[in-house]
Amino acid sequence: MIVSRLMQLTGKVLSVTGIAGLWIFPANVQAEWKVNLQRPITEIARVQYDLHMMIMAIITVIALIVFAVMFYSIIRFRKSKGAQPAKFTHSTKAEVLWTVIPTLILIGMAVPSTKALLLMEDTTESDMVVKVTGFQWGWHYDYMEENVSFYSMLATPQSQITGSETKGENYLLEVNNHLVLPLGKKVRFLLTAKDVIHAWWVPQLGGKKDAIPGFINEMWVRADETGIFRGQCAELCGKDHGYMPIVVEVVDDAQYQAWLEGRRNQG
């Protein structure tokens, strides 16, 4: 109850800061001033989002208390106002309090975090498997049971990067081949890499996971919404690390089957 109210408050504070920023710096290219995590569209991403908002609320309150005490002291206990220094050097009561209360808060945070982690790491009972291979600089996707595989690389033209052409709406976040996923299916990803370490990350689908040569990592995604979702490689992987986006397209099952068929026919 209190937590949810605090969460609303944090949301408001964040948006006010954003609005204030907007007012000071008028729009230039495409004013967005986004200040928070992207809107989640999977269970994992939602759990992460809620956890994030809860912790943000807690730390905002702690920070406000610390700053309040600090500014009160700065205003109240200044020599120029004739403040006389006290002589105390410790207070067992206070010290016990500010050790025990944080401990309780931490326990309160650990419980939902543990639950969330258990959910995220449960890759069992998946409906399908996609193998993701990172390479310098792009992604290779392999629908292992469907005999479909393809490369997916940056589609933004060089001229937009160097500035000789106007940058498009999805500048740097567009690829030649989308990773198409069916709606509502639990997709298990197997991640690996060919050369160096990469990390596969689409914020709206949930967290990132490293794609490491010689290793196979796992994660899972179940999309609750159709649409196009964009992300990027999140582990420094060399010169073109900034140029290996990920685009996921979630469609309903019929469209997915049709897409698979089309892919197979392409060979």
Partner: protein
């Protein structure tokens, strides 16, 4: 008769370049360290301005991506190993003997060598930017296999790390030997100033952590040139092993960067609150606790590598625990200010800003300890914002508090308070304009270490770049302040401030070339 001759000999200050090359005097070596750190601070700062200029708007305008990666890498290495660590060693050299009533460091010749290892190391690192293939470009963490791909610039970096590491180890041995053996009669461990305590702990952290890092980069070197495959999966190696070794060093390292700053502000806040430090004993134990925890939390830097669930849980719980001793420290500083009688000279302003902004960095650190949420935060600008709030706002602002606090002692002249305040406000405002928006960028999904970004990140990046230039150029004011204080100004008394605590305030400002030839008696 004998003693007069000895005194005369002792007060003779050598002249010319040989004074600095051959010096074994802790004050001279401290000065060398501090100037070296300041130069590196400006060099690293210039690199960060190159980074921020490129990020002012989307697209590639100023540098190519490979050079951008070299800048992010070398900026971090220069700041961590060239500016912050040597800076604090400079403070240790100047202040520890004067604070514990010792005539000098325990091992003066070793002290000379630990300093003179630094310039060649720094030179190697800078030269690496000009060799074929360029400097290191895999991030300061030097993760293989990417770092194995680099040219000989990476080898230069490895040797740099070896030299800097050697310097740190020798420096730490010296500091430990000094603190444990050379305290004035009556100065028990639990009477030592907190700055001495935090440095004692830091020195042990360095001794434990640096050899591990040296080992990791040596393995990297043999992988690159001598056919081993520690980290190369093609040869049966394990790239994640490097990350484990690196962060086993890397996490203690971040406390190596922060603990001396905690020590400095624990000296500054009581002086300007005119009230003794609150909870001295708990401060000492909190520092020891932080140091201990730093060795069992390393993998929270690598939650996304695919650890077993039990590992993720362990590192999450252990990391969350750090919040407790860190909180104790913050609350103790607040309680020191509480019912004090405060004035706000530049050192106090820096100390307060350090506590306030480090609180922000500490709290965002707590958010990242939560593994499931960290899967979103990891490797984004949120992390960049977090560690600048800890390393810049914590370590560097703490160090600046120390510079202003002891500058009158070092030079014998009061610094220019007006310029000091300008420096403070421009630095702190510039810092917040630079780094606060980076929290938003990271949450909204901007990965770190990219030279170019999608359009929705444009606005906050512009703000951030403007802040970086304010903050960067403000540091030149510090140069002016220091040079002015060296050349003249109002004479400082030996106490400098109002009734400050500590032996360093019992000697004249500037102190004679040799202090405490006869140890003082501590009550």
């Amino acid at each position: 008769m004998t003693s007069t001759v000895a005194d005369h000999h002792h007060d003779e200050v050598p002249k010319g370049i040989t004074r600095w090359l051959f010096t074994t005097n802790h004050k001279d070596i401290g000065t060398l360290y501090l100037w070296f750190a300041f130069i590196m601070f400006l060099v690293g700062g210039a690199m960060s301005l190159i980074i921020r200029t490129e990020l002012f708007q989307p697209g590639l305008q100023v540098v190519d991506p490979h050079f951008f990666n070299q800048m992010t890498t070398v900026h971090a290495l220069v700041m961590v190993f060239g500016a912050v660590m040597p800076g604090f060693v400079g403070f240790a050299n100047w202040m520890i003997p004067m604070m514990i009533g010792a005539p000098d460091m325990a091992l003066p010749r070793l002290n000379n060598w630990s300093f003179w290892l630094l310039p060649p190391a720094a030179l190697l690192l800078i030269i690496s930017l000009f060799v074929p293939g360029g400097g290191p470009a895999a991030g300061w963490t030097l993760y293989p296999p990417l770092s194995s791909q680099g040219g000989m610039g990476v080898d230069f970096t490895i040797f740099t790390v070896h030299l800097l590491g050697m310097s740190s180890i020798l420096g730490s041995i010296n500091i430990i030997a000094t603190i444990l053996n050379m305290r004035a009669p009556g100065m028990t461990l639990m009477k030592m100033p907190l700055f001495v305590w935090t440095w004692l702990i830091t020195a042990f952290l360095l001794l434990a952590a640096i050899p591990v890092f040296a080992g990791a980069v040596t393995m990297l070197l043999t992988d690159r040139h001598f056919g081993t495959a520690f980290f190369d999966p093609a040869g049966g190696g394990d790239p994640v092993l490097f990350q484990h070794i690196f962060w086993f060093f890397g996490h203690p390292e971040v406390y190596i960067l922060i603990l001396p700053a905690f020590g400095i502000i624990s000296q500054v806040i009581p002086t300007f609150s005119r009230k003794p430090l609150f909870g001295y004993t708990s401060m000492v134990f909190a520092s020891v606790g932080i140091a201990f925890l730093s060795f069992i939390v390393w993998a929270h830097h690598m939650y996304t590598v695919g650890m077993p669930l039990s590992g993720e849980l362990f590192f999450m719980y252990a990391t969350m625990l750090i919040a407790i001793p860190t909180g104790v420290k913050i609350f103790n500083w607040l309680a020191t200010m509480w019912r004090g009688s405060m004035t706000f000279e530049t050192p106090m302003l820096y100390a307060i800003a350090c506590v306030a902004l480090f609180t922000v960095g500490g709290l965002t650190g707590l958010t990242m300890s939560i593994t499931p949420a960290d899967f979103q935060y990891h490797d984004t600008y949120y992390i960049v914002a977090h560690f600048h709030y800890t390393i810049f706002a914590g370590s560097v602002l703490g160090m600046l508090a120390g510079v202003y606090y002891w500058l009158p002692k070092w030079t014998g002249h009061m610094y220019d308070e007006t310029l000091g305040k300008w420096h403070f406000w421009l630095t702190v405002i510039g810092f917040n304009i630079t780094f606060f928006p980076q929290h938003f960028l990271g949450l909204a999904g901007m990965p770190r270490r990219i030279p170019d970004y999608a359009l929705q990140f444009a606005d906050f990046n512009q703000v951030s770049t403007i802040g970086a230039f304010i903050m960067g150029f403000a540091q030149l004011i510090l140069l002016v302040v220091v040079v002015k204080a060296i050349r003249g100004g109002k004479e400082a008394s030996s106490e400098v401030w109002e009734n400050p605590e500590g032996l360093e305030w019992t000697v004249p400002s500037p102190p004679p070339y040799h202090t405490f030839a006869t140890p003082p008696q501590v009550r």
